[in-house]
Symmetry: C2
Subunit: 259 residues, 2 copies
């Protein structure tokens, strides 16, 4: 069996992917800090009756579904880095759109683990870093949750690009495990504990840097630092959810890579 | 003429307002840094034909109009801190909403300078801090522009709260200028150059802190710092646009304060 080469007018490289993932960390840390302005506000994402449709949907789910439709109409999902949470059929863009280079294997578009991310986010990830309580700011909370979800989803599904470049660099390393659908072996091939530890350390430092209170006068008391989000929690969010989910995407992508 | 006391179940104080404005600086700096990931992408906000409606509207205007409608439906504009860019009639929320305390004089809702902000943002402010060029990422660019616009709009219109608390603290200082509609005198009463300089200095430092490249290993070369947005530009954005527009809102609010 020979490996299939993706026709690509863009040169994916591990360096450019690494650079993007590092920049995405800033976006994710910013979005977590912004979400932490509000308490949990669980009424927003728990099931409730929408007065409009009579359907039972949480405010946040209603919001995200509607926003994704608008975003599709301006071409968001033409970008292979973006994956919707709810759209089964993506509406056509109503504006002339950019033609993104095809860097991924065509089956890539069928890899989407946003349903799992949605559950993990609201059940585990979100309650881990926001304070409990309810301040009634549901609309702003939903917008903040969407920003977090989209930033995290982009990071996780970037695993497709990671997997593609790893596969292209050494197809013979991956082909046996792909053919035998050996998920465990693939996971082993994709795991670099030292790199993961470095990422966790770096995002902790980013949370310290971006979540500190910046004062005008330098020489302010450094001893009592108040962080907007506990930096060790951000490290944990990466270690427990973001890194493993990214690797799950990589495995899913590779399993389809020779179809 | 006696001053009218706003019935308020919330105690506005200069301290709480100051705290909110300082926290909003972080949000604004984050949003500028995120927008600077993309080049100007002016095709997104210049007039073009929408394929859907046949109407002539820019992609960004179409996007913001549609998103504001969705946000209204989940109650965003029930919050007196939020002011829409395009909605003349705000659609009813389709979910049970939070009742926000009435901290402002009822005429406050008629103060909205978002049209001016829109023009200033796309013509002057945005081109001042993003690189020229076009990478085709219009959907992400529009979402980033909306985040900037909403963060800046919130800050500017927070001038209503600033004006209310200043007025309530010393109504007799303001009444003569309000009665004679003396805009210049009001502007003088509201201007504290030392405070403005401090704000400009602080946001510059925030841009340095939040826009730096955070590396894992401490002791990295401090000499060549690459900022995602030039910190002096953020200071300029506050000095030239955000602070003056906030004061314009304060004046507009006060001019209606005795109606």
């Amino acid at each position: 069996m020979s490996s299939v080469v993706v026709e690509s007018d863009v040169q994916l490289s591990l360096d450019s992917i690494r650079e993007s993932l590092i920049r995405q960390e800033d976006t994710i840390v910013f979005s977590l800090i912004e979400r932490a302005k509000f308490p949990l506000n669980s009424l927003a994402f728990e099931e409730s009756s929408c007065l409009d449709s009579g359907n039972s949907s949480s405010l946040t789910e209603f919001f995200v579904r509607e926003i994704e439709t608008i975003q599709a109409k301006v071409g968001r999902y033409d970008n292979p880095e973006e994956n919707p949470f709810f759209l089964d059929n993506i509406p056509q863009s109503v504006f002339p759109t950019h033609k993104y280079p095809q860097a991924l294997y065509p089956k890539a578009s069928s890899v989407n683990i946003n349903k799992r991310l949605w559950d993990v986010y609201f059940k585990e990830l979100l309650p881990s870093f926001v304070k409990p309580g309810d301040d009634g700011n549901y609309a702003s909370t939903a917008a903040s949750d969407l920003a977090c979800l989209q930033a995290i989803s982009r990071r996780i599904h970037y695993g497709k690009f990671v997997a593609e470049v790893k596969f292209s660099d050494a197809p013979h390393d991956y082909e046996p495990a792909i053919c035998s659908k050996d998920t465990e072996a693939l996971m082993k091939l994709l795991t670099f504990e030292k790199v993961e530890e470095m990422v966790k350390k770096r995002v902790e430092k980013k949370a310290e840097t971006f979540g500190q209170e910046v004062k005008c006068v330098s020489g302010d008391d450094e001893s009592e630092k108040n962080y907007k989000v506990d930096p060790s929690l951000v490290s944990r969010i990466y270690g427990e959810w973001l890194i493993p989910l990214t690797k799950d995407v990589e495995v899913e992508y590779l399993l389809r890579r020779l179809d």
